[in-house]
Each structure stands twice: as C-alpha cells, then as structure tokens.
Symmetry: C2
C-alpha cells in the first residue's frame, strides 16, 4: 500500500508533546538526556510561541506525526539559523521523508530570513548515516571540535548557504 | 589610590539585574540585542537557579559590580562548558580584572565538572582585544565559521582544556 501523502504544519499543539516524545524516544537513537532536551524546546515553543526562538515543522501522515524538525534564528546572528532537531519516526525511515522535511524546513527558514543553516552532529560512527544525510543534502563541514560531547566524541558543524532569488 | 580588593560571589540577586544591564550597556561594546541576550540569561538564572544551566560569577569592589562572568554546561555534552559572557565595567578595564575573573571562572567550571571550556567570539576587528585576551589566557582557536554573525562577520570558537589533578 502506498504511503499516505505527507502533510506539513508549523503550529505546534499541546498534544504534540507526547507524540514527539514517543517519536524521539522510539528511534532508540537518543539518550534520556537528549530526549529531555528535545522536549524542553517543545515546551518553550508551546509556552512562548515565536518568542521562544524555536520553530517547528511537523510532518504528518494519516493523523499521526511521521517526522518533525525544530529550527530557529541564532541569537546575536543576523541571518544564521540553527537546525536543532530533525527526527523521523522509526517505522517511517528510509522513505525519503527526512530529505523532504529538510528541504521544506530550509524553505521556511529562508522565509524567516535565514541565509545560512547550521547543523551540529556527532563525529561518532553511530552518526555516520546522519552525516551522510547532511552531505547528500548540500551541507558542508565547517568545523570539527574534538572531544566536544565527550572524550572521543567530537562535534561536526555543518553549514548550508541557502539559495536566494537575488543569486 | 589602590583598587579595593575584588570579592567574588556566585549567588545572583534580583538587584544585580539592573547593575549588570548598566555594566554591559556601559561598555558601549554591545548592541541592544546583545544586551537583551545578556539579561535573558540573568532572568533565566534568577527564575530557575542551577536548573537554568547558567552559572554566574560576580566580581565586586567596594559594594559595586566591577565585572561578571556567565557560563554553564553545554546541553548534551558530558564535560564541556560554554563561557557565555565575561564583561568588565568600562571604568575598571585594563587592570587585570578580566584575567582574574576568567581564571576564577575556570576553577568554578572545573569544580562543576568542566574539562573543556568553549568561548565564541567575533572575527571582526572590534573584537581583536577580546581574541588577544583569550589567546593570552591559554585558549586556542578550534574553528572559524565564515559569515556566521553577518556577512563579513565570522565566528571564532576558542577552546581551553582545563588542567586536572590526575594530569
């Protein structure tokens, strides 16, 4: 059976909190602390709206959330955005949903004034697919910070310069 | 007349908010938006204490604040801290207060579990003294992110690995 079409929305609802918790936790990819950080951004968004600095793009299929992205302007920077989270439900992975959600997120960021998008990820082997995903999506390595997350676990900073109409 | 001795404290009080606003604003160095960001961290600290993730070290002389630092653990990282702010009152600069406050802040961070301290700053010429200050204090350039803050205004990420008793 073909996948139902993805539907996107940028409004985050209180009921999304639990759905996002399950989605992030269900990947088996993130630590308890990382899940808590993801939910902190959800809570900030629900409490303060745009003032939180966290924007969400939720991709749903057939009434449930298949993936979501969270991004926002970097405080103190004029037109640089941080892509904080992009997570696809474990049961929906490997269907191109992440790539479509990322492209849609970049369009939204450009509308919000972004010129550069930064995405941080770990240099650990567990994150090799994540790094390959960003590289295939036009992101380049801007920096590597040795032992950033923990001894032996460095941080890779990716950046993508968004296309503008003016060139 | 000799400077009165610096006294340090880590408890932030509601009355410090206005003193810190004046201190940061009074340097003439920071934009309105940057002053607002500095105060956001103060407000978070006053509201949530250690749970805010923002720790303060206030250096006072003769009943007024001469300088302050704000730092904290980087979410998701095991023993990396970010030095968010270190500001010396305009009328108290060039007396070594910044260096002493930084050394004291590093000791506090080490007590809180820090192994690496990161400090971000601008590559703009206005920040040449800031960069020289970090370099003289044992920080090394870990990364340069072109156009991060604005076109032509890149970010330099400094890092210092703190000494440990175990070597």
């Amino acid at each position: 059976m073909a996948d139902p079409a993805l539907r996107y929305r940028t409004d985050l609802r209180p009921a999304d909190r639990e759905a996002i918790r399950r989605l992030v936790d269900g990947t088996g990819f993130f630590s308890e602390e990382e899940v808590a950080i993801a939910l902190e951004l959800v809570d900030e968004r629900l409490r303060k709206g745009d003032d939180s600095g966290y924007h969400f793009l939720v991709a749903g299929q057939g009434g449930r959330i298949s993936a979501y992205a969270c991004y926002g302007p970097i405080p103190g920077a004029r037109s640089s955005f941080d892509l904080y989270w992009l997570v696809v439900d474990a049961s929906r992975q490997r269907r191109g949903i992440g790539g479509r959600l990322l492209a849609r997120s970049e369009s939204r960021m450009a509308e919000l004034g972004a010129r550069r998008v930064y995405a941080d990820t770990s240099a650990r082997s567990q994150y090799a697919p994540t790094r390959a995903f960003y590289e295939a999506s036009g992101y380049t390595r801007a920096a590597f910070l040795e032992d950033f997350y923990a001894p032996g676990d460095g941080k890779v900073i990716y950046v993508k310069v968004l296309a503008t109409d003016s060139g």
